[in-house]
């Protein structure tokens, strides 16, 4: 069977689900953050394959912007994690419950 849009979308869906499971099930802040990156990459893959199979370049421009924003987001998020670690000496979500009612 010839590889088409459906195949790429299925890979993107699997990647997104894996990222979502990682965010929900893992307890380490850094690993959760990496799973978020997986989800962003899954969206990128879907956009690039849509752009290829619809013969429009706009999807790839959007992916370019997403990569830029993701880089900024990683920098800010990791700075927040480091600041949190300095205060609490932990990067574990179960130790960060002071906002719980």
């Amino acid at each position: 069977m010839h590889v088409g849009l459906h195949h790429y979308l299925f890979v993107s869906f699997m990647l997104f689900s894996l990222g979502l499971l990682g965010v929900i099930l893992r307890r380490n802040l850094i690993v959760m953050y990496m799973s978020l990156e997986l989800m962003l990459n899954a969206a990128n893959l879907a956009l690039v394959s849509f752009s290829r199979f619809n013969n429009k370049l706009d999807g790839q421009v959007l992916v370019f912007f997403i990569i830029t924003v993701a880089a900024a987001e990683v920098a800010v998020g990791l700075a927040l994690i480091v600041a949190l670690y300095r205060k609490r000496q932990s990067a574990h979500v179960e130790d960060l419950t002071s906002m719980k009612l």
């Binding site: 010839h2 790429y8 689900s17 849509f50 421009v61 370019f64 990569i67 830029t68 990683v74 927040l80």
Partner: protein, 177 residues
């Protein structure tokens, strides 16, 4: 040489390469979130690098050459170095294996099931797209689009990067006032 070109244009090699890269991407993604041998965040980061590199292989198969290069440069280069730097800075210990919470497990099943149902419903109703895609995502055409139609978003993104830089410097100061 002519035979090689015909083989590449025929798509059989590209189909095989798609399956290789897709399998590699998904395998490494599984190892990022659930490595059976080690819970160390460094291992997760290394497998995330492998995931990203095999995904840029998929980008090349989709003829998005510029994005494949950017993916490796920005993600595998800059972002993952940042991740590894923070992991080593914080000196994170290997995460203890603890029982997965029942509630978290149920929430994960429901979330993934919801996405799966939406995905398969869309696939069942969607048309397949162009049968013979001709788009080339090379640097010239992407750059032209970026500096004509998408100039304003491009400038806004550069401001966003500046804001993020200022924010990170402020956040990582020793004393937060």
């Amino acid at each position: 040489m002519e035979a090689l070109n015909n083989l590449l244009a025929g798509g059989a090699v590209q189909d095989v390469l798609f399956y290789v890269f897709a399998a590699l991407t998904l395998l490494c993604a599984v190892l990022v979130i659930a490595n059976p041998f080690s819970r160390s965040p460094v291992n997760s980061a290394m497998f995330l690098v492998l995931t990203i590199i095999s995904m840029s292989g998929l980008f090349v198969l989709l003829h998005a050459f510029f994005l494949a290069a950017v993916q490796i440069l920005v993600y595998a280069g800059a972002v993952m170095v940042l991740f590894l730097f923070v992991i080593m800075l914080l000196d994170l210990k290997e995460e203890a294996r603890r029982k997965i919470k029942f509630f978290g497990f149920i929430a994960g099943i429901i979330a993934v099931g919801g996405i799966a149902s939406a995905f398969f419903k869309t696939l069942a109703t969607a048309k397949g797209g162009a049968a013979e895609p001709t788009l080339e995502g090379d640097t010239i055409s992407l750059g032209k689009l970026l500096f004509t139609q998408y100039t304003l978003p491009f400038e806004i993104v550069s401001v966003l990067l500046l804001v993020a830089m200022v924010g990170v410097i402020l956040l990582s100061k020793k004393k937060l006032e």
